[in-house]
Symmetry: D3
Subunit: 126 residues, 6 copies
């Protein structure tokens, strides 16, 4: 693990409309996965809280993915990555799925889907 | 510029209360800085929009810093970093300052303050 | 005036996940169009307010379209309407476009795109 | 199924302050009713989620009714419909009631109250 | 300075549904009035910010008044204060009015209307 | 019952940046305490609702305290009250604590911490 300063999370946006970073969706998805990991060991009060928080985080994942998909990606990206729509559609659906489930595998699946999108994103920034 | 996949933005949280990442505050602060960089060249309609968005982003920076300060950091961290309170107080005040200003230097100052906090954060995660 | 106008505003949802209605996106889009229609005649204070409200409404359109796209539509719909992803992508991008513009034609374009989606939606409910 | 179903979902606003449509409150109320219809058959995790969502939807109903009552309706409408205040007050209270209950009859009562308001609304638009 | 000033800020709620306090609406209305008082002396950037903040505060006033009106007040209060509906309707409409105006007199009118409601509220708590 | 109760609910702000009042945090904290007082006697449905509402109220307390701490208080106040940072940090942490607990003593502790801050606040306004 290194200093934050030599591992930029970010990239200064070179487009007219702003700064984008798949990390926003990913951090919320990590919360979801962490909640699922702990869910079994929680008492009833905490289980209710966990469901509330999981619900909110999943909503944030959906929002951050929407922003990436519709605000950042442009027709030229779509030409190069013709399954881009499908990747986002399934990732956003998986975020909804995480509202229904507490199995960590569902959270991991969401993280993997976001990572696939992040790879495409960073490839387009090169 | 490298692949996202070998530079983790994130760290799986080993604490009972969740996932924290200074990147959340930083990404919003980058938006603020980017808006300031472009502000001078915008038409009136876009200037109004830029102020609205800058206002929201600054509020998000404040929120994300609050979460780090009050939820993540514990008394043992404070002992090791006695100026932690001051660092957060000034960074949050700087986020408010960015609502009032359009000079990129104000946005940069906010980014620098968040980076200082991020360094402490990542040092405590080692 | 077209066929949408003889469709009921509501439909009791026969699916496990809830109630969907393209009217939610459409009503917000109408607001955007109405704001654009009036924009030229407004004083400075009202122009600023109009931009704030237009910004919020466009965000709501994007949110409501996301819900329809990712929560309501299923793979079987996509098979029947292979350009469904594109229709949503362009409609959501058009909602962003409406944040940048005050020409009523941009609002009308958004309304037309939502109507096309609504027609597909109601066809799948028959 | 009643007369509301032959009313258009939308109406271009001819007033200076915007677009109003009782469908906004009604769609959220339908969600509440749909949640109540399914509540008995849900598992514990889904029951908690249902209560969270019902809570949010009821809040949205209250908000949309407030907008209609205070933004759309004018003194001349009140003269013609002297029980307008009471109708809104009871409908908003019924939305709160739906937060406390899971009996579908409570959701239906809310829908009926919104339909009564919608009838008055559309009568004033003729 | 009037009798409201010697009332406690808080009162432990003796009703099943919670804690209510007209101070919530009043504090937001004071912000609106303070913004109006300063508006004339602001530069363009700050004027835009002031309009954004005034818009939000007015929305909060409307929300807090809705809560008091529909959640706290009961039929027995209405019997004793038959113009209660009208008082709330006009106060909420005045909050909307404050979105359109920057004259401090409009903010003062809103404050006075909230104070009248607060007097009734505290009378019912005796 | 202490001196706070004879302080006015409101104070016209004499600073350039707005109106501040610890009552905003306190009213939300009272809700939390009231929910805790009733929690034991609630049925399952209401318990879930109580946890949702407690979660929201605690979040609002944190937000209102952040505003006071970072927007209202200035370096000169800090000189006079060197433990101001600590008082806020612990109060905000206590608001988080209230999300985890249903014992009224936790809510009372939060109220006491807010009252201490309120005393300092009002002392600086003299």
């Amino acid at each position: 693990m290194k200093l934050f300063s030599i591992k930029p999370v970010y990239a200064h946006c070179d487009l007219p409309c702003g700064v984008y970073d798949p990390a926003q969706a990913r951090i919320e998805a990590q919360s979801i996965k962490a909640i699922m990991d702990k869910f079994g060991g929680l008492d009833d009060h905490s289980k209710t809280r966990a469901i509330i928080i999981k619900e909110e985080r999943a909503e944030l994942v959906k929002h951050h993915l929407l922003v990436l998909w519709a605000d950042y990606f442009k027709p030229e990206h779509l030409e190069k990555y013709p399954d881009l729509h499908d990747k986002f559609w399934h990732a956003i659906k998986q975020a909804s799925e995480c509202k229904h489930h507490v199995e960590p595998a569902e959270g991991q699946k969401l993280l993997d889907m976001i990572d696939e999108i992040a790879e495409i994103f960073w490839a387009t920034k090169k």
